[in-house]
């Protein structure tokens, strides 16, 4: 061995050994030198030790330094290696842009859709309400038989509050859109009337000023009001002397307090007044106020429900016949507030989970295909001595890079989707300020990353149980025919099954929406502008003033050249539906003095049916004959006739307004006309009996209503001149304009929202399934290219080979379609309540879904199969 030659040890000795040997070498050399200088061996050893100094100290110091040095070298080496891996991974990925794009997009769609949908669900359904201990807050209604419910009458609420043991506070409230006169000017907003314990039940105190005292919750008390933080800022500029402010609705109220920021229950309320001021009815069948309560600790919704059922039964025995409750229904405020949005949101949540599953399946097949193709590369690297860990690290880096890109793109998609949601979402979801939920993003991101990494490891793990040589001898062809075929087949089946489920669901919704659009609302919506308004009681104090107010506004509107016709109604279709009972001439009333009739009560001006295009079927419209002093008249709709006058001609017969309706004047109204039905409660709801009384004769319930105007030209151009014309004759009224078209569209927002989102999911899953099938067929065809080359060489035609490859894939697709359709049959049952005039197992939707998917699968398998069949057999056979 030449002296200069490096020992194999030279790489790196363990630190202790390294130091020990170096120091020993020094001492030995020194000792030898001293020996040569003539010292005795003992003296030489002692002298060497002496001149060296503190041997142990030096030894320890050297070890510390070298340990530290080696650590930092190792760290910087691994950072370098990671950077190298990343660069290598990036180079590999950018060499196959189609694969990379497909994988990143797949991940991004799965992550993005889930994060966005779940953020919405979380925000609307799962987040607790912004009140103290919100799960104790409950809504109470009374049951009135056959699934019907109604508000708890005031007198019953007082009894329940006094007798029940389940609650820590119970209160009644109503709210409505009202014009309020304030010092800065009139403003139209939501005003709530609430009973004494209302704020205590919510555990809310005044942020400024005070809440009404118990003695202010009484008939004849000095009228006081508390306002929302928002209203205080908006209307009074957040001035601290709000207490000198008066606001007027029916009377003048002294502002005494401002509520904490964020408190606005019911939604959007700006002003709260003591309800007791108005004098409460003692009737036990007047359902005017909603009831809220707080469960006492230890009480549950179920136990409270049972207790109220018992109490209601006792009240019934005391107060019959003026009693119409069979029991009570208690539910949490949260579930009460989300009743309408719950099922569509859960549907979308389920759909997005299916989409994530589709995305992961797709990702699995994409990455797996690539991994198999790389098995040979991995085997070669193992054979030439690359460490398995090193290879695994490289594969993981690659997967992580892919997943990172996917997550980034997913974030973008999630934000974009949220933007779309806020545009499309029905007002009930209140998505105007939507934020992405970080946890959801993390969860979906982790799902995607884990899938990517686990499947990305496949080539390394697979070659680990076979010797590299074996894989190489197979020339990269997949060796384990059967089990592998099963994996591929399984992935295709799963993709197809998931996609067909989503597709069936969305087609059912699309068909439903089509059915809804087919519904004739019964009124015109084109060229009609509506203005909701409230005539403040402080100004329009009696019937004469109300009638004059409306007539002045109608005349002002009619003088505008842009207006063809104008009329008014108290309750426009698609808004709400106040109804009342009426007596019928010659038919006995019910036991409590009501009925037998019940229907929607509206007051209209002359020309309303004309503006809205509602046909007068028989008899006549209101006209100049129907004025004060003339015989009282009424017009009814066909649904009312069908229900109550199926056996006789109603024209000329009389009906009687009953309590709750206005009692003054002649209560018996002669039916003078019959008009067509309208879908007052929404296109998908059945038509209901309605009766109309003339403004000229009965203005007393007309303190709020809608102006409806048929325009000659553009509606937009009409708003400003009309507003000006109205302000000139009614400066205290604040009209809220909306076209009838937008009202109709608005009534379908819920349905459209669910349909559009679910359809988008279905289209994406269709695309994913297509891409997945394409990838799998391409890959398997490539693996079998040698076999196909031989077949071609032996005389098979390209068409036969293509059919063979494609047929194999399509058999798996067929299985997926079968499983998916069965799954869909089950899954769509859960969306029954969202369908309209379409059966859950609608054969057309199912056939279309299966057809669409099969077509997509056929194309996705045809392309790679044809390419495989077109290869030159000589080339493919020789290539291996």
């Amino acid at each position: 061995m030449r002296p200069d030659e490096e020992l194999p040890l030279s790489r790196e000795l363990p630190v202790d050994e390294d130091v020990r040997r170096e120091l020993e070498h020094h001492l030995a050399e020194r000792e030898r030198e001293l020996l040569e200088g003539g010292l005795s061996p003992e003296a030489a050893r002692a002298e060497a030790r002496r001149t060296f100094g503190n041997l142990d100290g030096v030894n320890a110091e050297c070890r510390t330094i070298t340990r530290r040095a080696r650590r930092s070298v190792r760290w910087s080496r691994s950072v370098d290696a990671l950077a190298q891996d990343l660069v290598l991974a990036w180079r590999l990925l950018s060499k196959t842009p189609a694969y990379t794009t497909a994988a990143v997009l797949t991940l991004a769609l799965g992550i993005g859709a889930n994060a966005a949908i779940f953020s919405v669900v979380n925000r609307t359904l799962l987040q607790p309400l912004p009140y103290d201990r919100p799960d104790e807050l409950v809504d109470i209604v009374q049951e009135s038989g056959q699934g019907w419910w109604s508000y708890v009458p005031w007198a019953n609420m007082l009894d329940l509050r006094a007798q029940s043991r389940s609650f820590d506070g119970m209160a009644s409230y109503t709210s409505g859109f009202t014009t309020v006169l304030t010092e800065p000017g009139p403003v139209a907003t939501r005003v709530a009337s609430v009973s004494q314990d209302y704020f205590a039940t919510f555990h809310v105190a005044a942020a400024r000023g005070r809440l009404p005292a118990p003695e202010e919750h009484r008939v004849g008390a000095l009228p006081v009001a508390v306002i929302s933080h928002d209203f205080w800022i908006r209307q009074f500029n957040g001035a601290s002397d709000f207490a000198r402010q008066r606001i007027r609705t029916d009377r003048e109220y002294q502002v005494i307090g401002v509520l904490p920021e964020g408190f606005a229950f019911p939604e959007g309320t700006d002003i709260w007044l003591p309800i007791e001021l108005f004098g409460m009815t003692t009737s036990r069948t007047a359902h005017n106020e909603a009831t809220i309560a707080r469960l006492r600790p230890g009480a549950t919704v179920a136990s409270a429900d049972r207790e109220l059922d018992d109490l209601t039964a006792r009240l019934a025995s005391l107060h019959a016949p003026d009693f119409d409750a069979l029991g009570a229904r208690v539910q949490t405020l949260q579930s009460r507030l989300t009743t309408t949005s719950r099922s569509p949101l859960y549907l979308l949540l389920g759909a997005s989970a299916l989409l994530l599953l589709t995305a992961c399946t797709n990702l699995a097949s994409t990455i797996l295909a690539r991994g198999m193709a790389r098995q040979q590369e991995v085997a070669v690297r193992l054979a030439i001595g690359a460490g398995r860990l090193r290879i695994i690290r490289q594969l993981v880096t690659e997967s992580l890079l892919l997943a990172g890109l996917g997550c980034l793109a997913g974030l973008g998609i999630a934000y974009a989707l949220l933007g779309v949601f806020t545009q499309l979402a029905p007002a009930s979801l209140r998505l105007t300020t939507m934020e992405l939920d970080g946890w959801v993003l993390l969860f979906t991101g982790l799902t995607g990353v884990t899938t990517t990494v686990l499947i990305g490891l496949f080539p390394a793990l697979r070659t680990s149980d076979a010797s590299p040589g074996m894989v190489m001898r197979q020339g990269g062809r997949t060796g384990r025919g059967r089990s592998e075929q099963r994996i591929w087949g399984g992935l295709v089946v799963a993709e197809v099954a998931l996609a067909v489920t989503l597709l069936c669901g969305s087609l059912l919704l699309i068909r439903s929406f089509g059915q809804v659009l087919e519904v004739d609302p019964g009124f015109r919506t084109d060229s009609i502008l509506t203005a909701e308004m409230d005539l403040p009681t402080a100004v329009y104090a009696d019937d004469t003033k109300l009638r004059q107010g409306w007539i002045r506004m109608l005349e002002a509107a009619r003088t505008r050249p842009e207006v063809a016709r104008a009329a008014m109604i108290t309750v426009l279709p698609l808004t709400y539906n106040p109804s009342g009972s009426f007596g019928i001439e010659g038919v006995p009333t019910g036991p409590a003095g009501y009925g037998p009739g019940n229907g929607g009560y509206r007051m209209i001006s002359e020309g309303y049916f004309d503006v809205m295009g509602i046909p007068v079927r028989r008899g006549r419209d209101f006209d100049r004959r129907d004025v004060t002093g003339a015989p009282a008249t009424v017009i009814v709709n066909e649904a009312l006739v069908q229900k109550y006058f199926s056996d006789r001609d109603p024209l000329g017969l009389r009906i009687q307004l009953q309590s709750g309706m206005d009692q003054q004047g002649d209560n018996w109204l002669t039916i003078v006309g019959i008009v067509g039905d309208v879908h007052h409660n929404g296109l998908t709801r059945p038509v209901t009996p309605e009766y109309f009384v003339p403004l000229q004769q009965r203005p007393s319930r007309g303190s709020s209503g809608f102006l409806v105007v048929r325009a000659r030209g553009q509606l937009d151009a009409l708003v400003d001149p009309l507003r000006a014309a109205l302000r000139a004759v009614a400066p205290d009224v604040v009209p809220d304009f909306a076209s009838m078209d937008s009202r109709l569209q608005g009534s379908m927002t819920d349905r459209r929202f669910t349909m559009v989102i679910l359809s988008a999911f279905a289209v994406v899953s269709l695309l994913l399934a297509g891409v997945g099938i394409y990838g799998v067929v391409s890959y398997t065809a490539a693996q079998r290219s040698r076999e196909m080359g031989i077949r071609l060489a032996l005389g098979a035609t390209p068409v036969e080979v293509r059919a063979m490859v494609q047929g194999h894939a399509l058999r798996q697709v067929a299985l997926g379609l079968l499983i998916g359709s069965l799954g869909a049959l089950f899954a769509t049952r859960l969306m029954r309540s969202l369908l309209y005039e379409v059966q859950v197992e609608d054969p057309q939707s199912f056939a279309l879904a299966i057809g669409l998917l099969f077509a997509a699968a056929w194309i996705a398998s045809f392309l790679p199969a044809r390419r495989a069949a077109r290869l030159d057999p000589m080339v493919t056979i020789r290539s291996e």
């Binding site: 061995m1 002296p3 200069d4 030659e5 490096e6 020992l7 040890l9 030279s10 000795l13 390294d18 130091v19 040997r21 170096e22 120091l23 070498h25 020094h26 030995a28 050399e29 020194r30 030898r32 030198e33 001149t51 060296f52 100094g53 503190n54 041997l55 100290g57 030096v58 110091e61 050297c62 330094i65 070298t66 530290r68 040095a69 930092s72």
Partner: protein, 111 residues
């Protein structure tokens, strides 16, 4: 005469600039060239060498020497050579300045 702080590093770097050497060779060379004027505890050399290695100014490999023993041989690296140049110029200027201050006599009174 004790060693000024920091001087050992320069001495090692300078020694290695003549060629690779193991620790004992470095220590012997210092002893001989300074003719024992500088008293260095020989052990102090080794932590210093390892610190220089940590900074990347020298690198070490185990080799078998002419005497047949395994020795850890140090060699100056590129950065080490640059460091030595910088230190040499500092030292030379320092020594020159010291010498001038200590040897020059004033031509008149300093006040």
């Amino acid at each position: 005469m004790p060693l000024f702080k920091g001087t050992l590093d320069v001495i090692i770097l300078r020694t290695l600039s003549w060629g690779p050497a193991h620790g004992y060779a470095i220590s012997r060379w210092i002893r001989q060239t300074t003719q024992d004027e500088l008293t260095i505890e020989e052990g102090a050399l080794y932590p210093a060498l390892r610190r220089l290695e940590e900074r990347g100014w020298v690198e070490a490999t185990w080799k078998t020497t002419e005497s047949g023993r395994d020795a850890k041989v140090y060699r100056l690296t590129g950065p080490g050579r640059a460091q030595l140049r910088a230190e040499l110029s500092t030292w030379t200027r320092y020594v020159r300045a010291m010498k001038r201050v200590l040897e020059t006599e004033p031509s008149e009174a300093l006040t």
